[in-house]
Structure formats: structure tokens, C-alpha cells
């Protein structure tokens, strides 16, 4: 996750470079370090550096990393000719290189030639079976083809070895959710919460999955996670506030017949409703009426 200071620095550099000031190289380095996805800007500024032989030689050995970065950005923007040229330059400089082989595989993927790309990755994987990027690209091919079961299988096999890779867990969770396999998705989100307990995003997603699974215990659990999301974001997360209201009304509905009452936080729902109304008054006053009627129907149902 990118921190606040890094984000402001990135935006500042971006503005500076876009408006004609210098600093394109620092911007590209920062983008690379933070692993953010800005293909159009990287492509534009990277090409401006690469096409100028003076600036190219000023970079020294870093120019090859820049070629790699620009080729990936070009493939992201579907400028496949630019990408092919960059890869050709890299191939001339580094024949028989694993990194260049990887780029060729990605180019095949970008062109949509899934079978060839898969063959390329399998042969690369034979030589170095422990390269995480190659495994992930294979999963990406399966996902792009819409072949979710294969993607899940490969991702699981990858996670058996590299089980501390939280990006992979996140990807797996999203695939499971899209396939409505909520129990497995819940497991993946638990892994994410374990590795990064202070990121409210994962609490929220986990709560959503639990609420969708249904059942009193799950909804009680979901309510707790919505509450933790509110705590982590200082009450500003609208989705969590709505989640609390929905959970409370669902719990009330499900336990109507029984006497088991949730005595832990009786005021939470009314507080959440009040916070929502305040938020809507500030930001979307036109929809306030809609909100109040929806909340009223939740309370009475």
C-alpha cells in the first residue's frame, strides 16, 4: 500500500512533469518503486527520454530498466509496436535472458495469443521453477481466458509455496467472490487481515462476504468487522456505516422470535444512521430524503 507522503510526492512529480517541468526520470523511478499503474504517463515520458539519444546516454546502465518499464506500459496501452521495438533492443543487448523472455511472454499475452504465451511461460518455468512473476502471469492468462477453475488451481499451487504473498491471497479472494464461493473467499480475507490488520479495506471486504453468507452468527461477525472498519477509518467510511445499519436490521429480523438480544452495542445502529444522515447532508443533500426513507424502512422491518 502506498503511504500518504509517497502519494503526495507522486502527484506533485506528476504535475510537474505534465506541465513541462523537468524530472521525468525521477517520476519514472518513483512509479517503479511504488509499483503504481500509470501506463499512459510512463509511456509518454519514457518515450520522450528514450527517443532522445543525449538523455539516453545520460542514464547509463539504467536505460535497460527504462526500456523494460516502457515496454510494459506500452503493452498496457496496447501500443504493441512500441513494445516490440523496446523488446528487440533488449534482446540484442541481453540474449538468452530470463527477464527478456518474460517480456516476450507478456507481449504474446497482450496480442491475445494465449497458447503461445502459455508455452513460453512453461518453458521458462522449467528453467527456474521458483520465479513468482512467471507463476502469476500464468494465472493471469487463465483468468483472461475466463478459465476461472484453472486460475484457482494454479493460484492455489503457487500459494502452497509462496504463502506469504498477500497480493496473491487478495487476487484469489476476488476470484472466489466472482465465482460466489464465499466460504473460500472468507478464508482468503482472513489471511489478508492476519497479515495486515490495520488496512480497513480487508475488514470491509470480509464483512461483505460474511453478510452475503448469511446466518445469524455470520451477520453478527459481519457487524463486528464493519465496526472495526469504522474504527480504523474514523467513521468516514459510508459503506461500513450502511453495513452496520443493514446488519442490525437483519439481526433484528432473524432473532425476532427468540429472546437472544445483542446487548453489546445497542446504540450503534442509531449512531450509524445519524452519521450517515450528517454525511449525506454535507455531500449529497439531494439524496437525503431517499436515505431517510430507506433507513426508516430498515428500522421498522
Amino acid at each position: 500500500m502506498v503511504t500518504k507522503t509517497e502519494e503526495t510526492q507522486l502527484n506533485r512529480l506528476e504535475n510537474q512533469v505534465d506541465n513541462g517541468g523537468g524530472g521525468a526520470w525521477e517520476y519514472l523511478c518513483l512509479v517503479k518503486k511504488l509499483k503504481v499503474r500509470r501506463p499512459d504517463k510512463v509511456l509518454r515520458h519514457g518515450l520522450s527520454i528514450l527517443n532522445d539519444p543525449k538523455k539516453r546516454s545520460a542514464l547509463g546502465p539504467d536505460v535497460w530498466t527504462l526500456y523494460e518499464q516502457v515496454s510494459i506500459a506500452a503493452m498496457d496501452c496496447q501500443c504493441l509496436d512500441v513494445a516490440k521495438d523496446c523488446i528487440k533492443v533488449l534482446q540484442k543487448q541481453f540474449p538468452e535472458s530470463k527477464r527478456v523472455g518474460r517480456l516476450e511472454g507478456i507481449l504474446l499475452e497482450a496480442k491475445g495469443l494465449w497458447a503461445e504465451a502459455e508455452k513460453a511461460y512453461s518453458s521458462l518455468l522449467e528453467d527456474n521453477p521458483l520465479d513468482p512473476v512467471l507463476h502469476k502471469r500464468r494465472v493471469a492468462i487463465a483468468k483472461a481466458q475466463g478459465n476461472f477453475p484453472t486460475a484457482i488451481e494454479w493460484l492455489n499451487k503457487y500459494l502452497e509455496t509462496f504463502m506469504a504473498d498477500h497480493d496473491a491471497w487478495r487476487e484469489l479472494a476476488e476470484i472466489y467472490v466472482s465465482l460466489q464461493m464465499y466460504k473460500q473467499a472468507a478464508f482468503c480475507y482472513e489471511e489478508l487481515i492476519l497479515s495486515q490488520p490495520t488496512v480497513p479495506l480487508y475488514h470491509l471486504a470480509y464483512a461483505d462476504v460474511l453478510y452475503t453468507l448469511g446466518g445469524v452468527e455470520n451477520i453478527l461477525l459481519a457487524k463486528k468487522y464493519y465496526a472495526s472498519a469504522i474504527d480504523l477509518t474514523g467513521g468516514k467510511n459510508t459503506k461500513a456505516l450502511f453495513g452496520i445499519c443493514l446488519c442490525s436490521s437483519a439481526i433484528a429480523q432473524l432473532t425476532k422470535g427468540r429472546n437472544k438480544e445483542d446487548k453489546e452495542s445497542p446504540e450503534l445502529q442509531s449512531l450509524a444512521a445519524a452519521a450517515l444522515e450528517k454525511d449525506y447532508k454535507q455531500r449529497a443533500p439531494a439524496k437525503l430524503l431517499l436515505l431517510t426513507s430507506a433507513l426508516k424502512s430498515l428500522k421498522t422491518s
Binding site: A164, F187, P197, L221, K223, K224, I244, L271, A275
Partner: protein, 246 residues
């Protein structure tokens, strides 16, 4: 006893500076040679997996209070199960691995190469310093020292009445050895093979890491008591919202 010796400036020009320059140059040379000689290491899948297992177990310990008791228990069993738990290392295997490490030709070669590239230049330089630059006072240390350092710092000087602050060039060599590390990281970038002191510390503390740390993680996981932190969050959310609304 406390008279001040006046040291010839020629000593500075012909001993201290050339010695430093030579050590810097040898360091740079060693860096490039080690870069050339470095063979690409193929990581062993088992070791990678073990490393990742340890990280995941550590995460489980750290975040245990954020997931429900049921899921925590399920995960704990998964890790610590006697038969096929991830962290369980059968006793026979643990001994084996250490023996295997020392007999593995690749790793032994690697270790030898690294040691050689460190030991040989040091020995040569030390011998050269001793041969050329011994028998005279090279420098004065600005702070006073006790008599115990005399044998260490003054070995070429055979006068026992000279103040211990006056040292021979051998101590200048040692000073440079440990002090030029900072300079090297400036000129050679972060990773350089001249980090002798770090390597020496690593060598002395050589244990076989993976199986011991797996056992350690297993024990710590077994000990942990699960304290379900989420109910507290509901109350905290209430207070947050109260501040926001009220």
C-alpha cells in the same frame, strides 16, 4: 613521561595517506572481482517454502486477535498438527539437514569462495604493512588510553616508556579496515562485498536456520492464547461515531 613527541609530517605523507589509498583501491578491486566470480544461486524450493511458512506463521501470531476463535484454532492445527502440520519437523530430518549442508558441494564452494575473497587480501595487506611500515611511531591517538592497549597498538615500537597514545601503523591499518566501510557504501552503492565486519559476525553465529526457527515458531504458536479483539471494536466504533455526530 608526558613529553610530546613531534612526529615528522613526512610520516603523514608517506605512511598514513598511502596506506588509506591502497586499502581503498584494494577494496574496489575486491568488489569487482567478487561481482565477476559470483555464481547465480538457484534457490532451493524447500527453503523458500519454509521461509514463507515462517512468515505466515508469524503473521498468524501477530494478527491472531483479529480473526474469530474458530478460524484461529483451525489455522493453529494446520500449522502445529503432529502428523502433517507445516511447522512440525520430525527429529530425524533436523539432524540430517545440517550434515547435508556441509557436504553439499555447491554451498561449500560458495562459502569457500566468499571466505577466500575476504581473507586473502586482508592477509596480504597486513603482511605488507608489517614489512614496510613497522618499527616507528605512526600517529597519535587524540584520547588517552590505558596500558593494556600497549601490546595491541604499539607492537613495532620496543620502547616501553612511550605513551600509549602513540601507535604504530598496524593500528592505522585496523582503523582503516573497519572505518572504510562507510566510504565504500558511498562509492560502491549499497551492496558491496567489502562488508567484512558484517560477514565476520555472520560466520561466527552460523547455525542451521530453518529447522530451528520452525520449531521455535511452532512453540510460540502453541503458547498463544486467543483473545478475540473484535467485540471491543464495536464499542470503539460507538465512541468514534458519537464524536462524529454529537
Amino acid at each position: 613521561m608526558a613529553e610530546d613527541l613531534v612526529l615528522d609530517t613526512a610520516i603523514r605523507d608517506w605512511v598514513l595517506i598511502p596506506l588509506s589509498v591502497v586499502m581503498v583501491l584494494i577494496g574496489i578491486l575486491r568488489y569487482f572481482v567478487s561481482k565477476l566470480m559470483r555464481s547465480s544461486q538457484v534457490p532451493d524450493p524447500k527453503i523458500v517454502k519454509e521461509g514463507q511458512v515462517i512468515v505466515r506463521a508469524r503473521n498468524l501470531r501477530a494478527g491472531a486477535n483479529f480473526i474469530s476463535p474458530k478460524s484461529f484454532r483451525a489455522r493453529r492445527v494446520y500449522f502445529c498438527n503432529e502428523e502433517n502440520g507445516l511447522l512440525h519437523v520430525p527429529k530425524g530430518q533436523a539432524q540430517n539437514a545440517q550434515a547435508q549442508m556441509f557436504s553439499d558441494p555447491n554451498m561449500a564452494m560458495d562459502m569457500m569462495k566468499k571466505n577466500l575473497s575476504m581473507i586473502i587480501p586482508q592477509t596480504l595487506t597486513f603482511a605488507w604493512v608489517n614489512f614496510f611500515f613497522s618499527g616507528f611511531v605512526a600517529a597519535k591517538i587524540p584520547f588517552p588510553l590505558t596500558q593494556r592497549f600497549r601490546s595491541m597498538l604499539q607492537n613495532g615500537i620496543d620502547l616501553s616508556t612511550v605513551d600509549v597514545s602513540y601507535v604504530s601503523s598496524r593500528s592505522w591499518y585496523f582503523l582503516n579496515l573497519f572505518g572504510l566501510r562507510g566510504l565504500f557504501s558511498l562509492i560502491l552503492g549499497e551492496e558491496n562485498a567489502t562488508d567484512d565486519t558484517q560477514r565476520m559476525m555472520q560466520m561466527s553465529g552460523f547455525g542451521f536456520d530453518p529447522s530451528k526457527s520452525l520449531g521455535a515458531e511452532k512453540d510460540s504458536l502453541d503458547i498463544i492464547q486467543h483473545e478475540w479483539a473484535l467485540p471491543k471494536f464495536e464499542q470503539r466504533a460507538e465512541t468514534v461515531l458519537k464524536d462524529l455526530v454529537g
